[in-house]
């Protein structure tokens, strides 16, 4: 999901996640989503908020366990913790460190891993690249693409860096003042000169 500042990207994400009240309907697989954040998580939608929102005073492991708040299968939870510590090796290395002491990139990995702990069908990421070094962003996006492929987890990602987003996405939505101004495959977007000059700026 692309769009200029103030287009309503974060608002859209927060509305889906249940962080604000809304009118109308938000549906997943044809079923309406509930309005309270913890119920949204229960229905299989998990948000990695802008600014990451890791729990700074808790350790990496504890953050991951909080991510499994809606689950009751203890064995599955432990298996998933092991899995994400392998997928994001830095989390494995720093599992007993408090999250507040991690670098920005490490915290972003933790935020994504924590969101995945609830086994979402849809993962929402609000500007995951914000404030990260380009190499870290590449690593993160490559991992997201791999998870999307192996687990079939759908992902809706807000991104300021249009080129980066279009490398990853199968569908691109362009948001402008609260409405979808254009949508299509990355190829469509790159081919459409009008959209490109008006919104992507190159």
């Amino acid at each position: 999901m692309l769009g200029a500042n103030g287009a309503g990207k974060t608002t859209t994400m927060q509305a889906i996640a249940g962080l604000m009240s809304w009118r109308g309907s938000i549906e997943l697989d044809g079923r309406p989503l509930p309005r309270r954040p913890e119920q949204v998580v229960r229905s299989g939608v998990s948000l990695v908020p802008q600014g990451r929102g890791t729990l700074g005073a808790l350790t990496v492991l504890e953050n991951l366990r909080v991510g499994a708040a809606v689950r009751t299968d203890a064995a599955g939870v432990s298996a998933d913790i092991d899995r994400w510590c392998e997928v994001f090796p830095v989390l494995g290395r720093r599992s007993r460190q408090t999250a507040g002491t991690l670098s920005g990139g490490e915290q972003q990995m933790l935020a994504v891993a924590r969101a995945l702990m609830s086994r979402p069908r849809l993962l929402l990421c609000d500007e995951p690249s914000l404030g990260l070094a380009p190499i870290v962003v590449q690593e993160l996006f490559a991992t997201l693409a791999r998870i999307n492929e192996t687990d079939g987890t759908a992902m809706l990602i807000v991104e300021q860096n249009a080129e980066l987003a279009m490398d990853l996405a199968s569908t691109v939505y362009l948001l402008d003042v609260g409405t979808i101004a254009a949508s299509g495959t990355p190829a469509d977007f790159r081919a459409d000169d009008a959209v490109r000059t008006a919104y992507l700026g190159y």
């Binding site: 954040p37 998990s46 729990l55 700074g56 005073a57 002491t101 920005g104 702990m117």
Partner: protein
Amino acid sequence: MDLFLERLISGLTNGSIYALLALALVVVFRGTGTLNFAQGELALFTTFVAWWLTTQSLPIWFAIAAALGVGFIMGALIERLLIRPVAKRNDMAVLIVALGLFTGLNSLAGLLWGSETKIMPSPFPNGESDFISIGGARLYGDALGVWGALIGLMGLMTLLFRFTKVGLHMRAVADNATSATLAGVRTSRILAIGWGLSGAIGALAGVLVTPLAPQQLSLTTMFSIFIAASAAALFGGLDSLVGAVVGGLVIGVLEAMLTGYVSVIGGSLQQTSALLIIVVILFAKPTGLFGTTKLVRV
């Protein structure tokens, strides 16, 4: 020497009570970010419940267990019915509600049970001869019992916060309520449990202190204890459980030594010395001695 030891023992015993009530304050503060001014009066009310049950010739242990239960339920109900609706508006409103509860609970206790002083039985052996001698000082059974209660409670809380899902979720909500709720934590239930837990801890402090308190159980019993407990919680930085316990013990001992050795302070300036400690702490270290200046890298 034995006089010093006796003062130390009495300071540690009072300090344990302050620590218990300070723990109750910290549990609420960590969850809601509010200093619950009604904590002391809630403890008073539940102690009256325990006393009333003993007058119905029920055993003291049953009365204490019931008081803890009532404390839990009242704490949780107060959060759900009175605090949560106003907490959305602003923090000052929460403070005002707590102050209202402070006077309200006190008056309610007076209305139900009258203002005359009650004798609250002790759950521990506290007769004239129930002591062991240490270096010439007498260590009474009820002092030992209070220490044991504090140590036991600390153990239980450590288990709760370290090893249970509810405890983990309580810490998550205390750290960042929005993040916790995004992770699927039932924040509202966790907050109610936190208030309930602090109500129960307060009740424990109340039933343990009243048999020791010079004025026994009256409508003013908990006030000075609440002042000292607030000082203890502040001493520890308001968000640290260990800090609350250390703070409680330090203030208890300081108070006992000051009133014992500095004749000007005597008995009547006891409360003032606790308040003085609060002021000194706030001047010297606004985050308290154990308060977390949050370590964050961005």
